[in-house]
């Protein structure tokens, strides 16, 4: 899952190294529109629906946070 997520992130913002970042949002690597694109690609790739209320910056601030939200959506 981690590799797939990284692949999506690099596709969105190829100029950044997401493996070296602590917080994608605070470091200005993803804005709210990137998060929208990310959600859409995660939904397509993992066959999930992410709840609108879960689309908050902290849930997309790191690879681990994104894995958690994907796993939560898979269980929903």
């Amino acid at each position: 899952m981690k590799e797939k997520i990284l692949e999506i992130l690099v596709g969105l913002r190829p100029e950044f190294d997401f493996t070296q970042s602590v917080n994608f949002i605070e470091e200005g690597m993803l804005d709210s529109f990137d998060v929208v694109s990310l959600v859409s690609e995660l939904e397509d790739k993992f066959g999930i629906l992410i709840d609108g209320e879960d689309i908050i910056p902290e849930n997309f601030s790191s690879i681990d946070a994104i894995i958690r939200i994907v796993e939560k959506s898979e269980k929903a």
Partner: protein, 359 residues
């Protein structure tokens, strides 16, 4: 706040859109983003085509054109208009009220009321609430509600997050007294403490427009805009909608006593396709009952999106029969409001185009 009305109806809707259509594919080069990234957003957000009026066109030009069309075709009688309400954030002037400009140009009677209301995305619901309140008066039988925006001129053409979504439109809604049209249920809420989540910083008295306010600045993501341009805190607005709108809709269904499957359609304001679809999923409403195709075909015209949505998606049905609709608007202010009411059969429900040749 819950509001309740009776013996009133929408009897016709005429939406006027610009004849000038801009395609997102043709403007991708204006933005500092990779084509691939922008095309991903196109699919998700509904960036496709949007309509913008020429820079010389103002709200009053379009409203006068449209209302004259209704008068000339016999759909409304000039002397029967007892009130004219204009809801807009882009008036012709600071002074006089644009509704008075429209009244004068149409040659309407003096014995009437004109009102300008500065509201945005919930402008259709706010305008309807005001219309219904005026119709409580014995001497007011017909209200013309105008929702119009020319926001394309206030959004930077180099702002990839906002410009592709923005559209201009003017809608004319006729609201009248009508017995036996069922009850009308509305609710409305406001949060002025977060009013700057969507704003145009300069141009009012607090910060007048000047050469300094027109200087373009690049944000950290590559969007260029000035203090004269609309700026939106996208993540705050998204969270506001996802947190506040579902309880608002549950409340209006509870108030009206309807189950969601008894509502024919949920005609919501459309900030973008993604947000509307997320609301439908959250409320467990089939996406086909909550159309999300206005942004991709016309752009987001703020308070005009709901009547345009109705005209684009339901015109044929509503000219034939009535149906129970749930309408909702949410955004600038911050304001969020919804309404459940029976709409139709309408005397007219159409979309026409306006170009420079019409002014």
């Amino acid at each position: 706040m819950r509001l309740f009305f009776e013996n009133k109806a929408i009897t016709g809707i005429l939406a006027v859109v610009p004849d000038k259509e801009i395609l997102f594919d043709d403007e991708i080069e204006n933005y500092e983003f990779s084509k691939e990234t922008s095309l991903k957003l196109k699919h998700t957000m509904g960036y496709n085509a949007h309509r913008v009026f020429e820079e010389s066109v103002c709200i009053s030009d379009v409203a006068v054109f449209a209302i004259n069309k209704l008068i000339d075709s016999g759909k409304i009688d000039r002397d029967s208009i007892d009130a004219l309400i204009l809801v807009t954030e882009t008036p012709d002037y600071i002074m006089p009220p644009t509704s008075n400009v429209i009244q004068g140009q149409l040659g309407l009677k003096e014995d009437m009321i004109c009102l300008d209301i500065n509201q945005g995305c919930a402008g259709f619901e706010v305008g309807l609430i005001q219309s219904f309140m005026l119709l409580e008066q014995e001497n007011i039988n017909r209200v013309i509600l105008i929702n119009g925006e020319m926001l394309s001129r206030k959004v930077s053409k180099r702002d990839r997050n906002s410009y592709p979504l923005i559209g201009d439109a003017v809608t004319i809604t006729v609201v009248e007294k009508r017995k036996d049209n069922g009850s009308i249920y509305a609710n409305i809420r406001m949060d002025g403490s977060n009013c700057f989540a969507i704003q145009i910083p300069a141009g009012g008295l607090r910060q007048p427009s000047s050469p300094a306010t027109s200087e373009m600045h690049r944000d950290s993501f590559g969007n260029w805009r000035s203090e004269d341009n609309l700026v939106m805190k996208g993540d705050e607005v998204f969270m506001f909608v996802q947190k506040k709108v579902p309880p608002l809709i549950r409340d209006i269904l509870d108030f009206s006593g309807f189950d969601s499957d008894e509502i024919s359609y949920f005609m919501f304001h459309q900030p973008n396709k993604f947000m509307v679809n997320k609301l439908a999923d959250k409320l467990k409403i089939p996406r086909e009952k909550m159309p999300s195709n206005i942004v991709e075909n016309f752009g987001n015209s703020s308070g005009a999106t709901v009547p345009l949505n109705i005209s684009y998606n339901l015109a044929d049905s509503l000219k034939e029969r009535s149906m129970w609709l749930c309408m909702a608007g949410f955004g600038v202010g911050l304001v969020w409001s919804s309404m459940v009411m029976k709409v139709g059969p309408l005397k007219f429900c159409d979309i026409i185009e306006f170009g420079i040749g019409n002014s």
